[in-house]
Symmetry: C2
Subunit: 557 residues, 2 copies
């Protein structure tokens, strides 16, 4: 018997999962919430765009989640930690951490403990929008190839924007940092006992999607280009990395210190770290023609195209990177900056409700017909990641009367995220990439049949659900099983491992034709607002929007 | 000693007020809520635009409110009902009631009791928008003069739209009605004991503002024009009225039946009925250069211009009628379809809160700076009465993030109504009508200093508050005192009566220059949305709206 360990760092917590390599059976799992800040996030009351995380929370969570999962697995007859043949790690990203010359995060030094700029710059931190806009501008002028595969727009959520922002706003932190390490590279490097940033083996996933890394142009952006940004960034380049690796490589093997802490064998191979949604895509059975949609606080949409095919640049799609998800495939990534977060905002921040409120609201509008509320919303409360790639966009709600209920607004927000999802699917298809099926993963996909049906009706795609409730951690475990190889009880390659270890739930949400027809009309109105407020259409005629919503409402009643 | 009785029919309740003619002192008052429907309004769950009222509630409220006020006044030493020298009545409008040949509302007949079309068609009923659009179209083609003084747009809230809608949707009710009487004419006619519709003395206020009545063209719209609508309306014309009167005339004198019910002298003169806000304007000291703003569930803005001046047609202003408010003056009326109703919607319908919630929310955002929330809203949850005159418009909120609070949205809704108020003031001034001061009346003006300061900052006008909390009822009592005349202890004319009986509170809200500067920027953005969604600008560039809101927010923080 052989098992692998998948460790999944989410936005608010970390989960460890012990998986049977033969069939993907889950033997033990444990979740640890990050103890610092608000639900694990360090905020700045004067700047709602800021979101940081304390690196100490990651180490605390690493030890405790793995011990918890092992303790649970230990109850399964026949399991022993000695049978764990590999470790895989996935995390949020781009979440870069400034580290010292010993690969220790600056924030673990008492000197920097309370400095927000010295923490991990969490993926959803949007403070660096000015830097992102400038990078986009400079790349468009001098290195268009750099951004051609990320929708021609460099995001405020990404590596260079954040590091440059640190240089601009907290130069003392920038100066103190020897290097910057993505969270997805940092955790494997801790387990592998890397003593310097140079020893950290970097993944192509974070490098290619967020740091403008590509073998085509010799790795990271060249020094001349970085000098256009700031000479200090050019100087930093040499202290980052020259090469990044796909998931066929190992990030290292388990070091004695962490082997002792966790009670696992020294030398256990550790897979290259990838982003949660990328390993989540693997754990959900991503393949050509399959879009995996991880629906959580935000969403991430992933698909793959064989590396020998010609994949065009797709405007507004935030990344097309060779080897980023599956080795031998282009990984295509898109996403929405807020999905679950929008529902949570409505229920918890505005209505001051809780989980029961979510259920109540759903009950109240479950049987409403599409368009019946007369409402339409944009899903931009946290900006737009795809297809506009603009964090300086905000939410919008239109159509409310004096009778509009809280539940109707809740439904309109769900529909807004479905329209955003459709915009992504349409854009990817427009450029010749096939999407035949959508497999969703994440708690919302599992629990919210109401939302899933709306997604099916709005997108016109059948919606399936990943077999595992822990698709990301499972994907990490799959990568670990491939890395371990068949001779140790793992698998020879990803397709074989996916076939053995992953599954799809029996439920499938098929589009309902009469709902599709109404959503077709609503989606046209959504696109009118989307294009007008998103700057695509600068001479918009919105004079019919409210009237058309009333007409749709009247025909639904 | 002499007193007058003012009776004010609001949207949810009726108030009676006994006033001392010498100084406006209020001796007794009583409010009676309408017992039927939801807060006095009959609704149709399948049509949110419908709002009707049971005429029986008006009679119940008449008797009980007057008896209540008299009982309270009776505690004042020296008061006797015999000293009541006149009665004035104001009501909502246009609120037409179908009546039989005996001037009895059809809804009082058991046959029609449960028929919504047989009730009073409350001012805020918007079901007749198709009829309104068609009347506007036909008038523009054949009788442009008819709508030139009501902003070139006939409203769904008005007399002919509603009656035509009744003919179209409930022809049996239309056929059963001998005539239609505005609520503001109906109540005086009941007190005066009118036995047929022909005996009802109609006010120029309702006739001129809502029924296209003007002496210039011989009264109501001519038969040919009404035939364009429907020959049955032309036929109805003869059973309506040939002449309407201003407030120098009496509607009649108190009939024995009602004198006995109320314990007041038979023969007490009854003033011509006007709309609540028109008598409210009188009760608040309306004069040339003074805009009176009645802020309640909706708002109504009234000012006057001497009848010998040339008042131009003002596009989008819903009425300019000679004698409608003060005899000898053009009355100019504008308004917003929902103001207090929008705050109430947010607090009671969406947040499921109560009065305490209003106070809490105000506390939370009282000290925020203009623009600090990044939010902007349109005040169209019940359509737009002025300056777009379009009931088929709806609410809009933009700028929300994942951190936006319920209180910030509450403030944004208040600001939205202030922007709507400014649009009206600007439009009136554009056409050469002077507005030097704004006097507000209604509970919101009295109690909500926070809102009043925002209105001052947004409009740039000093905001004063009417001295009486019952400005409408007081204005009715003023009209009654003028009708009674000096020989019976009343007054010779309106200016003299207003000077003696009305006042302004000592408080005055002056615009704060730094707030004005920010609201200037926000108002420009409001107008961009207003014009784009309202159909004024059909090639709108809204690409900066969200970004400008973020910029204003950042500079406010």
């Amino acid at each position: 018997m052989s098992y692998t360990l998948g460790i999944d760092y989410g936005t608010n917590s970390v989960r460890a999962l012990i998986v049977d390599c033969r069939d993907g059976r889950e033997l033990g799992t444990s979740v640890v919430n990050y103890p610092s800040g608000e639900q694990g996030i360090l905020l700045d009351p004067s700047d709602s765009q800021l979101a940081r995380q304390h690196p100490g929370d990651y180490l605390f969570g690493l030890e405790n989640s793995v011990l918890g999962a092992l303790a649970e697995a230990a109850k399964v007859p026949g399991f022993s930690p000695a049978q764990v043949i590999g470790i895989g790690v996935d995390t949020t990203g781009s979440s870069p951490i400034p580290v010292d010359a010993h690969n220790v995060p600056l924030a673990l030094d008492p000197r920097w403990k309370n400095e927000l700029a010295a923490q991990c710059w969490l993926w959803k931190d949007h403070t660096s929008h000015r830097e992102a806009a400038r990078i986009t501008e400079l790349a468009a002028r001098y290195r268009p190839q750099y951004i051609a595969k990320c929708g021609n727009t460099y995001s405020s959520e990404w590596f260079w924007s954040k590091i440059w922002n640190c240089l601009n706003t907290a130069p003392q932190v920038f100066a103190a940092a020897d290097s910057w390490v993505e969270l997805s590279d940092y955790i494997p490097s801790v387990l592998a006992g890397a003593r310097t940033p140079a020893e950290v083996k970097r993944g192509i996933c974070a490098a290619g999607h967020k740091a403008l890394y590509a073998e085509d142009w010799g790795g990271l952006p060249d020094e001349e280009f970085l000098t256009f940004l700031n000479p200090k960034l050019a100087e930093l380049r040499g202290r980052l990395y020259a090469r990044a690796y796909d998931a066929t490589e190992a990030a290292g093997t388990l070091c004695p210190e962490w082997a002792a802490k966790l009670g696992l064998p020294v030398g256990t191979p550790i897979a290259i770290g990838e982003f949660d949604v990328h390993y989540g895509a693997i754990g959900s059975g991503v393949d050509e023609g399959v879009l995996v949609k991880a629906i959580g606080t935000s969403t991430c949409d992933c698909t793959v195209v064989r590396a020998d095919r010609n994949v065009p640049d797709i405007p507004g799609i935030c990344g097309i990177v060779n080897g980023a998800i599956l080795p031998g495939y282009f990984g295509i990534e898109a996403g929405q900056s807020a999905v679950g977060d929008i529902f949570k905002w409505w229920v918890e921040v505005v209505l001051q409700g809780d989980g029961a409120t979510h259920r109540d609201l759903t009950e109240q509008v479950r049987d409403q017909k599409p368009g019946q509320s007369g409402l339409l919303a944009l899903d931009w409360n946290n900006g737009n990641r795809t297809i506009l790639v603009d964090p300086m966009l905000t939410g919008l709600l239109v159509g409310q009367t004096l009778h509009t209920t809280r539940a109707e607004i809740y439904r309109a927000l769900i529909e807004a995220t479905a329209f955003g999802a459709r915009a992504i699917i349409e854009r990817i298809r427009e450029y010749g990439v096939t999407i035949q099926r959508v497999v969703c993963c994440g708690g919302i996909a599992e629990k919210n049949a109401f939302l899933m049906q709306i997604y099916a009706d709005v997108t016109g795609c059948a919606m399936q659900v990943s077999g595992s409730a822990q698709a990301c951690a499972l994907g990490s475990a799959v990568a670990a099983a491939v890395l371990a190889g068949p001779e140790r009880g793992g698998h020879p390659d990803f397709p074989t491992a996916q076939k053995a270890m992953t599954s799809i739930k029996p439920v499938c949400y098929a589009p309902i034709p009469e709902n599709q027809a109404v959503y077709e009309r609503l989606y046209r109105l959504y696109r009118e607002l989307h294009d007008a407020f998103g700057g695509v259409n600068k001479s918009a005629d919105l004079s019919r929007v409210m009237k058309d919503l009333i007409a749709i409402k009247q025909s639904a009643n």
